[in-house]
Structures are given as C-alpha cells and as structure tokens.
C-alpha cells in the first residue's frame, strides 16, 4: 500500500512537472513578458518542449536497463502522451497564432513547405502511437504493438529534420539535440543494449 502510494506520488509529480512549462509560458504571455510576438513565443517554446519530451520518453528504456529502477517504466506512457499533447499544441499554435486560422493558407503552406509536411507526418505518427497506448490496444495488437511503437524512432528522425529545416543561421542548438538523439538511439544497438545491465553491475559494485 505504501509503495503504491509512493508510485502514485511519483506519477503525479511527473504530471505536474510536464504541465509546469505550459503554465509558465502562459503566465509570461498573460504578463506581456513574452515579447512582441507572443504567438510565435508559444509556438517555438512548445515545439522545443515537445522535442524534450520525446527525447525523455525514448531515454526511459535505456535508463531502466541501466538502473533497473521501476519508476522509469511507470511514466513511459504518460510522457509519450505528453509528447503528443505538446506536439498538438505546437501545431495548434501555428494554425491559430501564425496563420490566424486562415485554413486556405494552411492548405497551401502544408503542400508547399517541406518542413511542415514532415512535422505533420510526425504529429500523425504520434497520434497513432497515442491512440494505441492503452492496454486494450496492446492486447489486440500483441506482438505487432512493439514494432508499431518502434515507429517512435522514425518520428524522432522526422522531428529533427523538421527542426533542421527551420534553422537559419546557427546549427549549435540543433546539433545539441541531434547529439542527444544519437546517444539515445545508440543505446538501442544490440551490442550497447547488452552492455547496459553489465554497466549497472559494475556501477553498483563500485
């Protein structure tokens, strides 16, 4: 009972931590502290937030292997759904604050701008993963569920491409995220993934 309450507290803490940036950015906008283009402020911050959440979600499996701490696996679905929520808000900010709900313009922009197409594909992918993240879908899909959810690796690639195409002058920030992504993906290579539990043993003995 006490452990169950502990895990609930952990999940609630993660929920609040994921919610906090949205509250902070909204607070900034409400207080005119978000600069002369508050819509773009939200768009960019939420977009980067979505990338952070995707990277965090994908780092949970290697972290579990490395530490065997149960808490990481417990928040995987939650963080995955937060990624979807941020990505959806990112797209809505674009439609609402940048395009001003001009749907005709949205239609022509989606067709003309490759980075928007790539972003939309990534968002649709996240939505499919979100919709199949429940226990019922896991049972229905059986073995196929795992391969379906490996599509998150492709989504990570699409998101980085989407980001790459928006960069104008300096690749530093992008390169940082790409390096973190490469590190997380590298932990999934069979030789590395086999080493992680051994690394844990060595660490615990030290």
């Amino acid at each position: 009972m006490a452990t169950q309450r502990k895990w609930l507290a952990w999940r609630v803490a993660v929920f609040l931590a994921a919610l906090a940036p949205l509250v902070f950015w909204s607070w900034q906008v409400a207080n005119n502290a978000a600069g002369p283009e508050p819509g773009r402020y939200l768009l960019l911050h939420i977009g980067i937030g979505a990338l952070w959440l995707l990277l965090l979600t994908l780092s949970l499996t290697p972290l579990t292997k490395l530490t065997r701490w149960k808490g990481f696996a417990l928040i995987r679905r939650q963080l995955g759904l937060w990624t979807l929520a941020y990505a959806t808000l990112h797209m809505l900010s674009y439609a609402l604050f940048i395009l001003g709900l001009n749907w005709a313009l949205l239609g022509s922009e989606i067709i003309k701008r490759p980075y928007i197409i790539v972003g939309m594909i990534a968002l649709i992918g996240l939505a499919v993963l979100g919709a199949t993240s429940n226990k019922w879908s896991m049972r229905r899909l059986g073995k196929r569920w795992k391969s379906l959810h490996k599509f998150s690796y492709v989504i990570l690639g699409l998101v980085l491409l989407h980001f790459f195409w928006v960069v104008r002058a300096d690749m530093q920030e992008w390169a940082m995220y790409a390096a973190i992504a490469a590190l997380i993906m590298a932990t999934r290579l069979p030789p590395v993934s086999r080493t992680l539990p051994k690394l844990r043993h060595r660490l615990s003995r030290a």
């Binding site: 906008v29 002369p36 283009e37 001003g100 922009e109 104008r168 002058a169 300096d170 690749m171």
Partner: protein
C-alpha cells in the same frame, strides 16, 4: 546613371513638413503653444506617436547628442501614421536579429552590452579618391541628422515601424568621391569574437564578417540612410550601434549593422545570406509579395507587436510600400530571377 542626383520629387514628404516641427521632440513635448497648429497644418497626425519620453536615455558621446538634438525631425513619415504606428522602443530593441550576438531574437539585447562603440572608426576604400580610415564623427559630422520613420520588413515575414535617426548614405559616398569604376557599395560588420559571442560559435553557418552590398544607384537613393540613432536617442548596441545601414524597401537583412568598412567596388559583392543559401536569399532582396521564400510565403507579414489572438497579419506591399520612390531603379528587370 552612376551617381544619381536627387530629383526634387524624391523627397516630397519632407518638403511639405513645415520648418516649425523640425524642432527637437523633447522641446515639442515641453509644450510650445504655436507648435500644435504647425503640426496640424503639416497634415501628419504625428503628435501621439512621437513621444519618446519613456525611452530610456542612452550613453551617447557629446558629439552624437548634439547631432541628434539638431536633427531634422519627421523628415520622412508614413503617409498613414495610424496603420503604420511606431513599434514601442522596448519591442524594437529587444526583439531583433543580430547573429553576431546569437540566433535568438532576445540574444542581441542580452549580449550586445559587451560591444564597445566608442571610439569607432570606419574604413572607406576601393574605387574612391578620398578614402581612408575615419573616426565616426568625422565621417558623419558634415551632414545634418534626419529622422526617418520607416517600415522595416524582415525576410522572416514580420515587420515593425521604426523612427531612425541618420544621414543619407549618398552624402558619405559623395564625400568619398567615387571613381568612374565604382559600380557597387560593399559593407562589412565588425569581427571581434571577444565582443561578439555569436562569432565564437563553431556551428555558425555565417562566414564572418557579415557582408552586404548595394548597387551604387540604390546606395545613392535618397531613402537609403546610415542610421546612428532611433527613437530620439543613439542606437542601442543590439540594433547595430554605432552605425548601420537602413534600406527600407529591402528585407531587413540588407540593413547591415555595426559597420566598420564601406568599399566602393566594381564587381557585385556577394552578400552573406546569398553566400549561405543563394536559392533563398539574393543580392537584391527587394521586398516582394509575389516572390516567396522557398520555406514560407512573403505575401503577408505580421506587423509587430501583435497579440495572441490577433496576429496582425497584413498584406506585404511591393518594395515595402516604397514603390513610387524606387520602382524605376528596377525597370526592365525580372524580379523573380533577380530576387
């Protein structure tokens, strides 16, 4: 063709501005009685827009303060001051691109404090008879400062209206006495990674120094100015202190900041953005709603500041609304190819 003598029609807006409102804004705000009448006669409903009393004082050297106080105010103003209302100083000085200080629009304001602008000298060289290295004050002192309220249209599809203080570039060029070989003007920004942290980034795709260029007739056009101030004070560092170009009918990136070198040259210079991505940015970079950036539309712009639920999106005008003044410079050119 090479040196375009300003025609009387070029600066018609200043010609109808009565002498009385050339007075200093602060004196005007002090409330000289007869002035209101003069302003009304001028046909510019400017009074409310031009109150700089809440703009923080800078740290200008005395010569610059004097030049500013002797400026010809409202020399050029928007024909529709309500539609083209001034952006607040805070927005114009805290939200801009100056990649020498970082890529975020807040970076210039955060990091440009490290730029040392006094003393400042500018090299004038190339195809000129009267070149050399000049102290900034010697370069600009013979000319009277003018206030020019221009629309600034960024290539990223946002815009602001900003009151600049400066002198026509034509006057600097004339004093340099170009030779017959001079066809273009090339500008360079300071390179100093110690002061400009953006230049320390090893991931930057800009090959410093930042370079810009104009055709000589564009440079000599009366709308083209070298600015040293804005909002009734000197330029904040992040806006390109102490000396920057302002070419109002071109995308903002043409208006190069913190200039240390002006060269009159025979060949068309390769400007920095053209060098980085020539399919996205050309030499001319004239504001043109009909030629899209490959990654976004240029048909509209967001006039800043905007609000969350009103993006303040307006139609972008040909040559940023300065078509009457500058279209003839490009007669016969295919602006889809020469973008």
């Amino acid at each position: 063709m090479l040196i375009k003598i300003a025609k009387p029609s070029d600066l018609h807006e200043s010609d109808v501005t009565p002498e009385s409102i050339y007075l200093s804004r602060r004196r005007f705000m002090g409330g000289i009685a007869g002035l209101g009448a003069g302003l009304a006669l001028s046909g510019h409903a400017q009074a409310a827009a031009d109150d700089y009393s809440d703009v923080p004082e800078g740290d200008a050297p005395n010569w610059l303060k004097e030049k500013i106080s002797d400026a010809k105010w409202d020399a050029i103003t928007p024909s529709d001051p309500e539609k083209d209302a001034l952006a607040p100083f805070d927005d114009a000085s805290n939200y801009n691109n100056f990649f020498e200080f970082g890529t975020d629009k807040g970076d210039p304001a955060r990091h440009a404090g490290s730029l040392e602008t006094q003393p400042w000298s500018v090299v004038v060289d190339g195809e000129v008879n009267n070149g050399g290295r000049f102290a900034l004050e010697d370069l600009v002192k013979p000319s009277q400062f003018e206030e020019r309220i221009y629309r600034l249209r960024c290539v990223e599809a946002w815009s602001m209206v900003i009151p600049w203080l400066g002198i026509p570039l034509a006057e600097i060029i004339k004093r340099a006495d170009p030779t017959s070989k001079a066809k273009y003007v090339r500008f360079e920004t300071l390179v100093d990674p110690e002061q400009m942290r953006g230049q320390r980034s090893s991931f930057s795709i800009i090959d410093w120094p930042y370079v810009e260029g104009l055709r000589l007739d564009e440079a000599m056009h009366p709308l083209t100015i070298m600015a040293m101030g804005m909002y009734g004070r000197e330029l904040p560092n992040q806006n390109g202190a102490p000396l920057r170009l302002v070419v109002p009918w071109k995308y903002g990136f043409k208006s190069i900041k913190s200039i240390v070198r002006i060269s009159l040259v025979e060949e068309q210079p390769v400007n920095s953005w053209q060098k980085i991505a020539s399919d996205e940015y050309g030499f001319y970079a004239n504001v043109n709603p009909n030629v899209d950036h490959p990654r976004w539309s240029q048909a509209t712009e967001r006039r800043l500041p905007n609000t969350l639920f009103n993006s303040n999106t307006i139609d972008t005008r040909m040559f940023n609304g300065y078509e009457d003044e500058v279209a003839e410079l490009y007669a016969g050119m295919d602006l889809r190819k020469q973008y």
